[in-house]
Amino acid sequence: MTQQNPQSVTKDQDAVHSETFLARQRKRSIAIAITLAVLVVMFYLLTIVKMGPALFSRPL
């Protein structure tokens, strides 16, 4: 039976943990980006609906 070096086991675990951490962080960043994009679209549409065509024909 071969014995595993405890230090290499810890390193492997750390690598798995950091990979999981990065994957979760990446998913969170994507979720935040999507949320921000939705907000931009929402504010844009709401501005158009609330102000209507007058938004484009008002005096500057």
């Binding site: 943990h17 999981t20 951490f21 979760r24 962080q25 998913k27 969170r28 979720a31 929402m42 549409l45 709401l46 609906v49």
Partner: protein
């Protein structure tokens, strides 16, 4: 290791959120005025986010008791997947966002009612009543009953009798719904130290309370048809639903132990269908009237 996106989503109590969205849509559709589709969709979105925010704040405050009960121990905070501070921040940001956005999109009365709902659910129900009185579900039920009023107000800008009747239906529905749950999950609530009616007043008193509330619910459920703002199709549906829920409440008497718990679970599940079917009937009838003139 960092929370997953799914954990943040779970904080919003998506199932409760879907009920809130559904009842708010019914409130909006029944309102006797039109609303621009964009404003309507954004208003519903805000109401949903506001409900999710109260869910997140509730999980932040209740993390200690959630860890004890089997139904809630896998929630993100007690399971150790998310820290309390993140949940608090998430809930507060969503609360401020949803209220402000609803004010800008619809009107400030609707936004004020949404703010009141969040405050009521977090402070009055979660922080104060839930751990101190067995009447917690009665008074706390008001928080879940506000969405149809908010939907109505988002369209009309004012409150009238019709949304108040919808409020009354959900208000009278929520207490017996959770009493049925507490009858078959009694030990869970006991372990967590939450004073639910079966633990404080006993099973018989709970059954009596449950029956009285469900009789009142059956009458309140018929009220929209009785007052003339819902049609005969809804009226018949409400009568049938009322008869079944009262019959299921009566079936709890005279049985104990596992059989009583089984019947309480059946009542709990039917109670969920009651609200869904009643509001779906109102919605279908209102849509049929608006788009096809059926029911006039």
């Amino acid at each position: 290791m960092g929370a997953r996106v799914e954990d943040y989503f779970a904080l919003l109590k998506p199932r409760l959120m879907s009920l809130v969205v559904f009842t708010a849509v019914v409130g909006m559709v029944l309102a006797p005025a039109g609303v621009h589709p964009v404003v309507g969709v954004i208003s519903i979105f805000c109401i949903a986010v506001g409900a999710g925010a109260s869910g997140a704040l509730n999980m932040w405050y209740d993390a200690d008791i959630d860890a004890i009960m089997s139904r809630t121990k896998n929630r993100p905070i007690p399971a150790g997947r998310l820290d309390k501070t993140s949940a608090l921040g998430f809930g507060l940001v969503l609360s401020v966002f949803s209220v402000s956005m609803l004010g800008l999109a619809a009107n400030w009365l609707a936004a004020g009612l949404l703010a009141l709902t969040i405050f009521y659910y977090l402070v009055v129900y979660t922080m104060w009543l839930k751990r101190t009185t067995a009447q917690n579900t009665v008074i706390g039920g008001a928080a879940g009953a506000f969405p149809p009023i908010i939907g109505w107000v988002a369209v009309t800008g004012s409150v009238s009798l019709e949304p108040v009747l919808l409020f009354l239906i959900i208000f009278l529905w929520s207490a017996p719904h959770f009493w049925a749950l507490s009858l078959y999950k009694k030990s869970d609530y006991e372990a967590a130290g939450i004073p639910m009616l079966p633990n404080v007043a006993g099973e018989r008193a709970t059954k009596v309370h449950l029956l009285i509330y469900n009789v009142l619910l059956a009458f309140a459920g018929f009220a929209p048809a009785g007052f003339g703002f819902a049609g005969p199709a809804y009226g018949v549906t409400a009568i049938l639903l009322g008869i079944v829920i009262v019959a299921l409440s009566l079936r709890l008497f005279g049985v104990e132990g596992a059989e009583m718990r089984r019947r309480a679970r059946t009542l709990f599940l039917f109670s969920l269908s009651y609200l869904f079917i009643a509001f779906a009937a109102l919605l279908v009838e209102a849509l049929a009237l608006k788009f096809f003139g059926i029911g006039q």
